[in-house]
């Protein structure tokens, strides 16, 4: 299980490998905001403050979308594109970018 902390919602949830963050949002009632849900609109951009290694890698499509924002995008992810890919670890996510 990966321990995921959603900072602004103050939710700590244990998540099994393979779950998407959309599933996590649905289950926990977290307020992370999704728009198009396919990685186009940038509504769900969030900062992974720690534990990036526990998430799937950014696809080319996600990278192109994030580059539109400019600046350092290393810690940024589109929540709609994220899936837990790890058996053990800790992740902290902030919706404030």
């Amino acid at each position: 299980m990966v321990s995921l902390f959603l900072k602004e919602d103050n939710i700590k949830v244990s998540v099994p490998n393979g779950k998407t963050l959309r599933e996590v949002a649905r289950k926990t009632g977290a307020s992370m905001e999704f728009g198009c849900r396919v990685g186009d609109c940038l509504t769900c951009v969030a900062r992974v403050k720690s534990g990036m290694r526990c998430l799937n890698e950014k696809s080319d499509k996600e990278l192109i979308a994030l580059e539109v924002l400019g600046g350092d995008i290393n810690e940024l992810r589109l929540m709609c594109q994220c899936r837990i890919e790890c058996e053990e670890g800790e992740i902290e996510i902030s919706y404030l970018v």
């Binding site: 299980m1 602004e8 919602d9 103050n10 939710i11 700590k12 949830v13 244990s14 998540v15 099994p16 779950k19 599933e23 996590v24 649905r26 289950k27 926990t28 009632g29 977290a30 307020s31 905001e33 728009g35 198009c36 186009d40 609109c41 940038l42 509504t43 979308a65 539109v68 924002l69 400019g70």
Partner: protein, 411 residues
């Protein structure tokens, strides 16, 4: 057309279109005075820029105005401050007529462009600080997202001190006299537009105002309604005032507000509402209130929802559905920011009892934070069940006050 075009400043002319007959805009807005789709031409020593186009069915009017002021070969740039169809309707045709022109859109508009124009076209993106030159005229771009489309940007013409604000500062108000000092009283339309279009994006309005405040603004050229040239600061101040209003309870009493909205046919859902409110009200920092949806009009619903940090909605189940006033309440969220609000649902039922789950689902899509499962009780609540209601209200209130929620997802 009494005036084919209208001079806005030494190098800017109005080339938009008027829609005096429109009475409903974007399905949700009433437009008693019609509206306009404002478009502008900026002329510099080395070419012209076209700032936005118009709704497709008004293309002929737009092109007639444009052709009276320039040849298509002179167009160096076409700027779309956002891609909504009422401003991008003539874009494809304009690009056919001026193929050498560079299209400038915001970064966030890139993914939308293919949805609007079904063919590949060349474009450049602009973020805050990017400038384009027309020789002796310089246009600087400002990223002002979510006002009211994700891709919205604004721009500023330095030499003439004109702010092209996109839909910000717009009004649905048709009047061919065009300028704020010449048209009729459009103050209600200016505020109505803010309340229906910009109110859900207050934090983004404040960000945009910070950018606008960097510039000396002589004229605001919005995409709908009168051009604001008499005292632009007045309109900037109005937007700041409306967007920075603090919540009354929080501001006045230092408390968070939890509102229980309910409908009840046999008093059972009402009994639940009352005890949920009492449970919530035991938590320090919370002021809990309850409202019978049968007697709330839409304006009150919107104001109460905006004021509330937590929203708990109760409905009985009638014919497998929540009752209409509960749906009406949640439909008011279209006018508000919902991010960060805590939500919950409950209700008494006789037979199937879907209403609380249905309301929970709806609130999920409205981006409420929903940390507790819906609470439903069959018919008349027992004392034990009312105790559950008390705990339910208390739990929602504690989470609203910042209590951490810990949970585990199943594999």
């Amino acid at each position: 057309m009494p005036n084919l075009t209208e001079k806005i400043s030494s190098s800017v002319d109005f080339i938009g279109a008027f829609d005096p007959k429109i009475r409903t805009f974007d399905i949700i807005m009433k437009t008693a005075n019609g509206s306009s789709y404002n478009s502008y031409i900026v002329r510099g020593s080395m070419g012209v820029a076209i700032m936005d186009t118009v709704k497709k069915e008004f293309s002929a009017e737009f092109f007639e105005r444009l052709e009276s002021l320039c040849d298509y070969e002179e167009i160096k740039y076409i700027v779309l401050h956002h891609l909504e169809p009422d401003h991008s309707g003539a874009l494809e045709e304009l690009m056919n007529r001026a193929p050498q022109a560079k299209l400038i859109i915001s970064g966030r508009a890139v993914m939308m462009l293919k949805g609007i124009i079904k063919t590949d076209i060349a474009f450049e993106t602009a973020n805050t600080g990017k400038r384009i030159s027309l020789g002796d005229k310089t246009i600087e771009f400002l990223s002002t997202p979510f006002l009211h489309w994700p891709d919205t940007m604004s721009s500023y013409l330095h030499e003439d001190k004109v702010l092209f604000s996109g839909d910000v500062f717009g009004s649905h108000y048709y009047d061919e006299r065009l300028f704020d000092d010449k048209v009729g009283d459009f103050s209600y339309a200016f505020k109505y537009y803010y309340e229906h279009i910009m109110r859900p994006f207050k934090q983004y309005v404040m960000q945009a105002l910070n950018l606008y405040n960097r510039f000396e603004i002589r004229t605001i050229a919005p995409l709908h309604g009168p051009i604001l040239r008499t005292n632009p600061q007045y309109y900037l101040d109005k937007y700041e005032e409306w967007s920075s209003e603090e919540k009354f309870r929080k501001n006045t009493f230092g408390k968070k507000m939890l509102s229980v909205f309910y409908m009840s046919s046999y008093d059972n859902t009402h009994k639940m509402a009352k005890v949920i409110m009492e449970g919530a009200d035991t938590i320090d920092g919370i002021v809990a209130s309850m409202y019978d949806l049968a007697s709330l009009d839409e304006k009150n619903m919107i104001d109460l929802l905006e004021e509330s940090d937590a929203v708990i909605v109760g409905s009985p189940t009638i014919n497998g559905d929540a009752v209409k006033p509960a749906w009406d309440l949640l439909s008011c969220m279209a006018f508000l920011e919902s991010q960060g609000k805590v939500g919950a649902s409950f209700g008494s039922y006789g037979w199937t009892g879907e209403a609380p789950e249905m309301l929970h689902d709806r609130m999920h899509w409205l981006k409420f934070r929903l940390p507790v499962q819906p609470l439903k009780i069959k018919l008349i609540p027992t004392k034990e069940e009312l105790d559950d209601c008390f705990v339910f209200g208390k739990e929602v209130a504690e989470i609203t006050m910042g209590k951490m929620v810990e949970m585990e997802m199943e594999i």
